[in-house]
Point group: C2
Chain length 214, copies 2
Amino acid sequence: MPKSDAKTPRERYRAQVRDEIKTRAWEQIAGAGASALSLNAIAKQMGMSGPALYRYFANRDELITELIRDAYRSLADRFQAAAKAGASLSDLARTMREWALDDPQRYFLVYGTPVPGYQAPPDTTLIASEVMAVLLDACEAEGVVAEDPFQTHIAEHRFWAGDHSAPPAALHQALVLWTRLHGVLSLELAGHFTGMGFDPAELYAAETRSLTGS
Amino acid sequence: MPKSDAKTPRERYRAQVRDEIKTRAWEQIAGAGASALSLNAIAKQMGMSGPALYRYFANRDELITELIRDAYRSLADRFQAAAKAGASLSDLARTMREWALDDPQRYFLVYGTPVPGYQAPPDTTLIASEVMAVLLDACEAEGVVAEDPFQTHIAEHRFWAGDHSAPPAALHQALVLWTRLHGVLSLELAGHFTGMGFDPAELYAAETRSLTGS
DNA sequence: AATGGTTTGCTAGACGCTATCACCGGGGCC
DNA sequence: GGCCCCGGTGATAGCGTCTAGCAAACCATT
């Protein structure tokens, strides 16, 4: 985490301040959502006055973009760590849910409502493909999705899978895993299940079973 | 749509102005998202000056809440109309997607990232249960979900289904239909499929098939 | 037709936010 | 030591929500 590659002491200090700004930003976001992020408030919390922050981040968008990048990165890291530890498909599903529940606002920063004008920087889509690669590996190993006409379509449009060797059924399985888990998670985190009475974890587990054969 | 139940001409004018405000609000939201909604800008567009709007809506939150209510209502209306026309499960799924694609920001207003502090007014959850009731009817008629331990859990927590007579498997089917469709839709509308190459409609159709048996 | 209360819209302004400017002071570097 | 640049400050502009106070229009009643 320190990432202090020891260049000039100047740059170390700079990186340290940037990190603290991001930490405070996460605290604010966790409390009131990304839309309520106030650079002024962060500066005041850190004991310095408004414009000083702009020495470290050009504007609000750049800070948020950085936070999004970090969020993506943390998801990819967890996935790759799980994969390295020999995680099964249902382990990956569990990992996904734990990551989401750890910090719902972080989840929403990645998968939530986009700002119409906003364009994700290319490196985040690259990180997203790392996540997808882990999923593809696992699906190739233990996929159980049924045959479907969609698989002929996906076989002809497998650009997004890069040079991964997974068969069409595995591509289908990875997409479906992604969308189904996201469907349950996002509705749960958005609070659409509150007051309905059942346990979202059970539904999530059921969806996981439907994709792994228990 | 007019809803002009002819009371005093005063109230008719008032309702008319409120409607125009909401119309402009929808235009703004469609263009730049709900977070960019500016009451000032709406007022200027309508040829009146800022604070005059506050004669019609107490504050920004009240306006947005009203928009959310309208959005919910439009979804419920479409679903009930489809049901009255004898729609099948896959017809309902198609209805859902059309409603979402009609106005993505309207979809996000209902199902998107929530503001942490915000509490939905009770009548919106009531409208949500209308939607669910239509889904339950259809699932009871032609559900095909596999047996799963989740169904014993949902049988003991069927509070959300009200006094609907659907068996546990149908409850399960309705939930899964909802979450799976939402999973594909929200990722599609948020742009997470752009650049991947395949057609989201095909994936949506595949998910629909997985829940209706072609 | 005149009157009085209500409703509506206006301007002025308080306050917070992002963002940018010119202007210092102190620490690193030769 | 002397230079310079980096990081900080206050001032300022612009936009946002929202309150307060005032003039005019409206409506119902007498």
